[in-house]
């Protein structure tokens, strides 16, 4: 049971799968050099340049070629380097990959994994710090994964690779270095199942991706003050574990959703709206980035982002 970083955990997961199935391959910029975060370290040596394909800076084609290759029966892992560059490949993702199975009446199997390391990454500014995972939870035809631990990130990769559906994996940039245990034999993750991080009756907290450890920290601090919250890490947003959240909210009557992304029309809105529909009377609140691009300077970034202190304050206010 290796104790590794999240980046290494995903490396082990992809390695395990690529050894199992020769149809799996990786395409993206600089992947032959191990990827920007070392997540493909040593792969070129083991799998060669046909399965570890360092590409030109051609995001549209990285994405679209991945789709084409899936249509003939290979299983590509499309590496976007960082999320923001997927904006150069949206036609291929949104108009082609997400729709092709449906549009063609089920003939196509767009079995691609799209890796998009996302989120705030200290002082990288507006074009390298986006959190738009909520967009893709609104888009029919794709699975959306937002893991937050090495074990979940590894299991997510295994499921993503084995799925015949397009799976979007939002690697949490800020957590590449977070460490944890990963099993020797990495099993797949079931999409749509939240992880119960803390148990309590005071309040239901829901989070995912890089915000989940912050929520955990907040939950522990609240527990030290005698306030026990029920904390769920959604792990996947499409599908999402509506039942687990509803079961918790039915008990606590209070729902606090915290995410890195902008609050307005973020996925937290879906979580709160669904609970409002199912459990009227729920007291709900969302925490996230204000409707502002991510700035560069440390104090500006700090002024805007979610912190454990802000989560604690929001929770206490809801309980006041």
């Amino acid at each position: 049971m290796p104790h590794v970083t999240l980046a290494e955990a995903t490396r082990l997961a992809v390695l395990q799968e690529m050894r199992r199935d020769p149809r799996i391959w990786v395409l993206g910029e600089d992947v032959a050099r191990g990827g920007l975060f070392g997540q493909y370290r040593g792969f070129l040596e083991e799998f060669g340049p046909r399965r570890i394909v360092s590409t030109p800076i051609s995001e549209s084609t990285i994405m679209g070629a991945g789709l084409g290759a899936a249509l003939v029966g290979t299983r590509p892992i499309i590496e976007m380097r960082i999320f923001d560059f997927v904006m150069c490949a949206m036609d291929e993702l949104v108009n082609q990959i997400a729709k092709i199975r449906y549009m063609f009446g089920g003939q196509a199997r767009p079995a691609v994994v799209v890796r998009m390391p996302h989120g705030i990454w200290r002082n990288s500014a507006a074009q390298h710090s986006q959190m738009l995972e909520g967009w893709f939870a609104h888009l029919p035809g794709v699975i959306v994964c937002c893991p937050s631990t090495p074990a979940d990130a590894a299991a997510t990769m295994v499921s993503a690779i084995r799925s015949d559906d397009p799976v979007l994996v939002f690697d949490p940039k800020n957590l590449w270095g977070a460490t944890g245990d990963v099993p020797d034999e990495i099993a797949p993750l079931e999409f749509g199942r939240a992880r119960h991080l803390r148990h309590g009756d005071a309040l239901t907290m829901v989070s995912w991706s890089a915000c989940a450890p912050l929520a955990e920290e907040a939950a522990d601090a609240l527990a030290a003050q005698g306030i026990r919250v029920d904390l769920l890490d959604l792990r996947t947003l499409a599908p999402w574990d509506e039942e687990a959240v509803a079961a918790s909210v039915a008990r606590t009557g209070r729902l606090l959703v915290a995410h890195e992304a902008v609050v307005t029309a973020g996925f937290g809105a879906e979580v709160v709206a669904r609970m409002a529909e199912r459990l009227p009377g729920t007291r709900a609140r969302r925490l996230g980035f204000p409707k502002v691009p991510v700035p560069f300077a440390p104090p500006l970034e700090d002024a805007l982002k979610v912190t454990p202190a802000r989560i604690i304050a929001a929770a206490r206010e809801m309980l006041a």
Binding site: Q96, A108, P239
Partner: protein, 321 residues
């Protein structure tokens, strides 16, 4: 009959079937039977026929919004295509796609596309996948002259040349993009020069000369299949009808259209065949057969049941649904 005549007759038959399919579908559209937009390729049939005559069933094809001819020439089932245009049960895509999204994976037809140049990255990826699988199948990528001004053209050709992929790019150049003459929005010496600058050797052909398209494609496909890397075929042709079936294209100069009618690829191929000694009735029979086939398909499609409304919810995603 000479082998050559047999091959040309086969081309003519494909072209007549495409023409009849589209004329029939247009009539169906005009009668309110076919929903949605319809982009006919009438006048361009020699490109589809001549190119696809050189493809194996396991070769793949990506197409654009004007894809009926490509699909038929690649061997897609006309009955299922007509049902699809009519949005009926049993259509190629179960009624979910319609004319602009015809696909028939069973014959390697990986789909029409509603996005101009959308098929280019898909084609190069399919070729890369085939290369990884060790297959000797190739991929044919059809697009219009309007598509060469979108980024994927550059990216896809560079990519194909770089990885020496088995792709035949075909630029079906009808001189227009929707309602704009492409010459008025395209700088530089043209598609072949662009391709060469990206490392893809290019060949030009008269796209209204089915035999010439056939011969040029045969040579290119042989090179590509032998591992020679990608090639581009630039086929000049003319769209006799409008952008869509409801567009009368009245903005075009009438003498231009008249001249183009003289250059109809079907008439031209017929005269070649007559010169090779094929009798007129044999030629007429091909046209009549095609028209009969397609009107029967129209009647069948128009009487066919609608898809089950419950199927609207299926095939969004697969096992993770």
């Amino acid at each position: 009959m000479a082998t050559n005549s047999a091959r040309l007759l086969a081309l003519l038959s494909t072209m007549q079937r495409i023409r009849a399919f589209e004329e029939t579908a247009m009539a169906g559209h005009a009668a309110g039977e076919v929903p949605g937009p319809l982009h006919p390729s009438i006048g361009q049939e020699a490109v589809a026929a001549g190119v696809c005559a050189n493809l194996r069933v396991d070769d793949r094809l990506t197409s654009n919004h004007r894809g009926h001819g490509h699909a038929l020439a690649k061997g897609a089932d006309a009955a299922r295509m007509m049902l699809e245009l009519y949005g009926r049960a049993g259509g190629s895509c179960g009624g979910k796609g319609g004319s602009m999204h015809i696909a028939d994976f069973s014959v390697g037809m990986l789909g029409a596309n509603g996005v101009v140049s959308g098929g280019i990255p898909i084609a190069v990826g399919a070729a890369q996948g085939l290369q990884l699988l060790g297959s000797d199948a190739i991929v044919c990528c059809m697009f219009g002259d309007g598509a060469i001004n979108r980024g994927p053209f550059l990216e896809g050709l560079n990519w194909a040349a770089l990885y020496r992929l088995p792709v035949l790019f075909v630029c079906e150049d009808n001189g227009v993009a929707a309602f704009t003459a492409t010459a008025s929005v395209t700088a530089g010496p043209g598609v072949a020069a662009r391709a060469e600058s990206l490392g893809v050797p290019a060949v030009a052909v008269d796209g209204n000369d089915a035999a010439a398209v056939d011969a040029a494609t045969a040579a290119l496909v042989a090179t590509i299949r032998a591992g020679g890397g990608p090639r581009l075929l630039h086929a000049r042709t003319y769209r006799l009808t409008g952008h869509t079936s409801t567009d009368a294209a009245t903005w075009r100069a009438t003498d231009e259209v008249a001249a183009a009618r003289e250059n109809d690829p079907i008439a031209r191929l017929e005269s070649v065949l007559r010169a090779e000694g094929v009798a007129q009735p044999a030629l007429d029979a091909l046209r009549d057969d095609a028209l009969r086939e397609m009107s029967a398909l129209r009647a069948h499609a128009n009487a066919a049941p609608w898809p089950d409304p419950a199927s609207a919810f299926a095939d969004v995603i697969g096992e993770n649904a």
